[in-house]
Symmetry: C2
Subunit: 127 residues, 2 copies
């Protein structure tokens, strides 16, 4: 399939709640996940919420990774949007392991599909 980008949507359940609520830890883990995938970070922004939760985004040469956390539910949503040769699934596995997730769901979406009348394909689901 000829596409501009692959976009991996990741659902992480049963995560370590203290990590999910710590901005520095989440920044460290997101950078590490990016490197595990073979991506090259170029900029980042992280924001803590009151009373809890963190949002973080890493811009990479290959597009971006983002994470949103709900410590009160042990839940995090990870997105990895890439137009490059990196391996988003590796970032998902790295993050899941680091956070101690007990349930992981992955959905791969193809974005900017060029050989079709529809530009967006939900391609693969692992549950």
């Amino acid at each position: 399939m000829d596409t501009f980008a692959r976009h991996l949507l990741v659902e992480l359940h049963g995560c370590n709640r203290a990590l999910l609520n710590d901005r520095e830890s989440m920044a460290h883990l997101l950078r590490r996940a990016a490197l595990a995938a073979g991506a090259r970070p170029v900029a980042e922004v992280f924001h803590p919420y009151a009373p809890q939760g963190v949002t973080g985004v890493l811009i990479i040469e290959e597009s971006h990774l983002s994470v949103h956390t709900w410590p009160e539910y042990g839940y995090a949503a990870l997105d990895f949007y890439t137009c490059g040769d990196c391996e988003p699934e590796r970032a998902a596995r790295e993050m899941a392991a680091a956070l101690g997730a007990d349930r992981v769901e992955l959905v791969l979406v193809h974005r900017g599909v060029r050989d079709s009348t529809s530009s967006i394909h939900v391609a693969d689901v692992e549950r």
Copy 2:
């Protein structure tokens, strides 16, 4: 449906190529799109690519918006991830109009679905 967040995936085709390649314009348009949706921006990061293209992310109180552009194809991918009361479709319409898109696709994904064994639902497609 009881979910943590709604995630709107937007494909914009036939856009103004000069705008897609201008970091300041894209930053301005993304902020405007966020406000049109009723979101509250709190931080941002934008990155231009060589030889062309821009990535930008706006962190909002309700989560994030991101945009990736391919000026050479007149294409942009917009994402609006929200756990709040804002209206992501308004941001998509605002951005599509500002960029002069001649084809728009929207896919709404529910993230962190709590009343189901599956946490992620691709709910609605407009093409």
